[in-house]
């Protein structure tokens, strides 16, 4: 039986949060970028009140795998970015 994974400490969680937001900046697509930022902020805010350590550990590792997905896809989207940006990125 494996020993219980210790739940992440506050600095690890903050570091994960900042990493996902940083990877969101790398998306050339306006909609995906805004969605990643918004969804990350809201889901970290919703999970702030969790108290059970095993739930926190599960949600944290889920967040980590989402970070890996975001990093990979930011590269893929950049490689195939269209030459012309979205109207929302140009005006304003």
């Amino acid at each position: 039986m494996a020993t219980a994974v210790p739940p992440p400490c506050r600095s690890e969680i903050l570091s994960l949060f900042r990493s996902i937001l940083r990877s969101a900046r790398d998306f050339p697509d306006y909609n995906i970028r805004e969605y990643t930022k918004r969804r990350t902020i809201e889901s970290f805010r919703d999970n702030k009140t969790l108290s059970d350590p095993s739930t926190i550990a599960t949600v944290f590792s889920d967040g980590n795998s989402q970070l890996q997905v975001a990093k990979r896809q930011a590269v893929v989207y950049s490689l195939f970015a269209p030459n012309i940006k979205s109207i929302m990125d140009i005006k304003h």
Partner: protein, 436 residues
């Protein structure tokens, strides 16, 4: 840390080397020669890619879905029906996982899901396949006037073969009258087909009540749930459906894949439309496209997790859009029932404005009038005609589609552009800005 340096350098080097207007290794045929800061296509010049508000036509692929699909293009490219080697086994495992993911979203069993090439194929299998299988005893089909073209066309095909079809009319709000449905069912009725969420007006039909009626009269119930999947909660047992058509590219999955739900208890049988090697339990022969199916499964799993969040957000955005337009314009009519509708589909008619000119002026917003399937013809949409909308109001209808990735800024910009264009058209027509 090393991987981050690697990806940054990789990205920088690759984006710098990309020739602006020709991709030498790509086989894309629509080579648009773009000067560096604007697009010119079909006589229209715009400075950037339009903001996308046409979610009913199709939806962008979610990056998490793409992430699930890429390994099956790159390294795990086996045919899931190959029994003898790892490539086949891992591909088959992925297909079965995807099958479970799709089934969980509609509260069905994985054994009841058949993968097809899309909702159109599912509708064809359901309508024609069921009626051909039971043709000795059942000669009658009931459907509505607002169904998708593929259902209506399949019914027309059946009519030419000698079957009887009843096209139920809809009320002004787009819903069918349940008493009319009860009255139309006969002893030889073989199928009732009613779509769950309409693709043009977004109206949600009373599925549970229809399911009860069909159970009472023991008639199979088919529904086209392509627009409903992942947006409203679907339960095949609460709705009592025997057949359900699902589409991948409406739930932020890839195009070219769909799934057909076929009830096992009581078993519904169909005559296959694609004959061949007997894949998918003989219902749909042909190699199952593993990457697409994996994408659809991932999209369905995501939809299950995100449904509540997306729904709240889409409703908020829809209210912002409608209130923003109504604050500046009069004579804006919402087509279809206001209570029983999916918030992400907003079909508006603008009084005294010509539809084609409105769309031509809205080139920075990607919206549609009528559905994508019927936009080639100049006739107003048959769905709006079935609702009893006047000809001129039907011509000016615009469908705004709001989805998971739409932002508040996009909605505000769409409001601004629509209001400007409508005011411009009203001013031109009468020389004065018509206010009433």
């Amino acid at each position: 840390m090393a991987s981050k340096i690697l990806t940054t350098t990789l990205r920088r080097s690759l984006t710098l080397k990309t020739i602006p207007h020709i991709r030498p290794l790509s086989t894309a045929t629509a080579a648009v020669t773009e000067p560096s800061d604007e697009i010119s296509m079909k006589g229209v010049k715009i400075s950037g890619r339009p903001l996308y508000l046409d979610m009913q036509a199709t939806s962008p692929v979610d990056p998490r879905v793409l992430d699930a699909m890429i390994p099956y293009f790159v390294s795990r490219y086996g045919n899931p029906h190959s029994r003898t080697h790892l490539y086949g086994w891992e591909s088959d495992e992925a297909v079965e996982v995807a099958r479970t993911q799709v089934a969980n979203l509609i509260n069905a069993s994985a054994k009841e899901i058949v993968f097809t090439s899309g909702a159109t194929e599912c509708n064809n299998i359901s309508v024609k396949g069921v009626m051909h299988f039971y043709k000795e005893k059942k000669k009658h089909v009931i459907t509505t006037q607002t169904e998708h073209k593929c259902v209506l066309d399949s019914c027309r095909h059946l009519q030419q073969e000698g079957f009887d079809v009843t096209y139920l009319p809809v009320k002004n709000d787009g819903l069918i009258d349940l008493n009319e449905l009860k009255g139309a069912i006969r002893s030889v009725t073989g199928l009732v087909s009613v779509m769950a969420v309409n693709n043009e007006i977004g109206v949600i039909q009373p599925m549970e009540e229809i399911g009860e009626i069909c159970k009472e009269f023991n008639v199979p119930f088919h529904t086209d749930a392509a627009q409903a999947l992942g947006k409203i909660p679907i339960d095949v047992n609460k709705w009592n459906v025997s057949l359900m058509s699902l589409s991948g590219h409406k739930v932020y999955g890839p195009k070219g894949v769909g799934a057909l739900y076929m009830r096992r208890r009581p078993r519904i049988r169909v005559e296959p439309q694609m004959n061949g090697g007997g894949q998918e339990r003989g219902i749909r022969s042909g190699t199952v496209p593993t990457p697409l199916v994996v994408g659809m499964g991932a999209a369905c799993e995501l939809a299950m997790k995100e449904m509540e969040y997306d729904e709240k957000r889409v409703t908020k955005l829809k209210d912002r859009l409608l209130n923003g337009i109504r604050a500046k314009l009069d004579g804006v009519v919402v087509n279809g029932s206001v209570e029983r509708r999916y918030a992400g589909n907003l079909n508006l008619s603008f009084a005294y404005v010509e539809g084609e000119s409105l769309l031509m002026g809205l080139k920075e917003v990607a919206v549609s009038s009528g559905s994508a399937c019927t936009s080639a013809s100049l006739e107003p949409s048959y769905v709006l005609r079935a609702l009893g909308v006047d000809e001129d109001m039907a011509h000016t209808s615009i469908r705004f589609g709001i989805g998971r990735f739409t932002t508040e800024e996009e909605i505000d910009k769409a409001v601004e552009l629509t209001v400007n264009q409508v005011e411009k058209l009203l001013t031109n027509r009468f020389g004065i800005l018509k206010k009433w």
